[in-house]
Each structure stands twice: as structure tokens, then as C-alpha cells.
Amino acid sequence: MDEIRKKFATRAEFLTIYIKEAHPEDEWQMTSNEDQGVCYTQPLTLEDRLFIARDFVERFDYAIPLVIDPMENPAEDAFAAWPERLYVIGVDGRIAYKGEKGPFGFDPDELEAWLETYLQARAGVDRTDSREAEAI
């Protein structure tokens, strides 16, 4: 994802919303996580969730700004985001892109292609607006 962020850095904001664990060891543990030493129980407190999120950021030197969904999971609930998902919100505050639910629908390549088209179209609109403003 960071490659995509860098590619569009001047034209889009990126924000990671850290939600409840998808594969904690006390629920649906994955062999791949065991192999990589990523073994956590599902957090029961915000401090626990923060601890894992910080570990994630440090371990991967994660560069995309990251915030945490509170323990009531309001963001996960509102965006149907578990276990992972991609969205784009337009400057008007409306949903512009809704990726498919993860894990199989989590598709950064599709997002990248969509962003390319969307941002080009948006730049075209901006240029048109500028010309019209100049004409006025």
C-alpha cells in the first residue's frame, strides 16, 4: 500500500484505520501468523489494541498515518471493514470507492487503477473550473 501512497502522495490522502484483529490466537489463528511470530489474543481493552497497533507500525516501519478504531468498533461496523477493506472518500465527504470485503476482495491493484482514472478525471474538472474562473 505504501507504494501506492507514494505514487499518489500529492493528489490523495491516505489513512489506515486499525480495527479488531482478524486472526488472534484465541479465535481463528493462522499458521502464517504463527510462522511469523504474530500471535496476539483479541484485545479486550484499548490499551491492548494500541499495543498491537504500535508493534505493527514499528515492525514494518509503517509510513501511512494510522488511527485506531475504538473498542466499540464504530468504524469497522459502519464501513463493514473486517477483516480488511479499502475505501476512498471524496472531497465532498461522500464514498467515492468501495472495495470488496477482504481478504479476497482486498485489491490494492484495483484501487490503484481506480485512483489513476478518478484523479485524472478530477484534475480535468479542476482545469475546467480554473479556465471558467479566469474567463469570469
Binding site: 491516505f14 482478524a22 489463528q29 485506531i68 475504538p70 473486517w82 477483516p83 477493506r85 476512498v88
Partner: protein, 83 residues
């Protein structure tokens, strides 16, 4: 004769199911059945107003409404967790 065919079909289906469970992994089969339904399509649609959620900063001390990031440029949201 029909009984034998039915028996063969049932045995074949059981064999296929067993192979599928072995391939996917018993733990993942249980996980899919138990937790898989948490993955939902959701009701949000393109064009809907983004839900007004408040999020916690990584320092744990401050909270920020999502709207803080909205408005200057399109905002890409990446939802996920470590595990």
C-alpha cells in the same frame, strides 16, 4: 442397483469434502464457519455520506473525527489489523 449408485455418490461426496477440509485445513474450516460471517458487504454505497466516526490516535490520548481528514484531497481509507 440404485442403492449402490447412491452409496457411491455419497462416498464420493464425503471423499471430496474430506479432501477440501484437508486442503483448506481443519482450523481454517472451523474459523470460516465461526468467524467468517464477520466479513459483510455492508450497507454503505458509493455516493453515501461517509459515516461520522471518531478514531483514536496512536498515542492513545487524543480522538479525532474522520472528518478531519476529509475535504482537501480524496481520502484513501485502509482498514485492517496486524493479524
Amino acid at each position: 442397483m440404485i442403492g449402490k449408485i447412491l452409496g457411491f455418490v455419497v462416498a464420493l461426496l464425503i471423499l471430496i469434502a474430506a479432501c477440501a477440509i484437508f486442503y483448506i485445513g481443519p482450523r481454517n474450516v472451523i474459523g470460516i464457519l465461526t468467524y467468517g460471517r464477520q466479513a459483510r458487504d455492508g450497507n454503505l454505497q458509493v455516493g453515501d455520506q461517509a459515516p461520522p466516526v471518531t478514531l483514536v490516535a496512536l498515542d492513545g490520548a487524543t480522538r479525532h473525527p474522520l472528518e478531519e481528514w476529509v475535504g482537501t484531497q480524496p481520502l484513501v481509507l485502509v482498514f485492517g489489523s496486524f493479524t
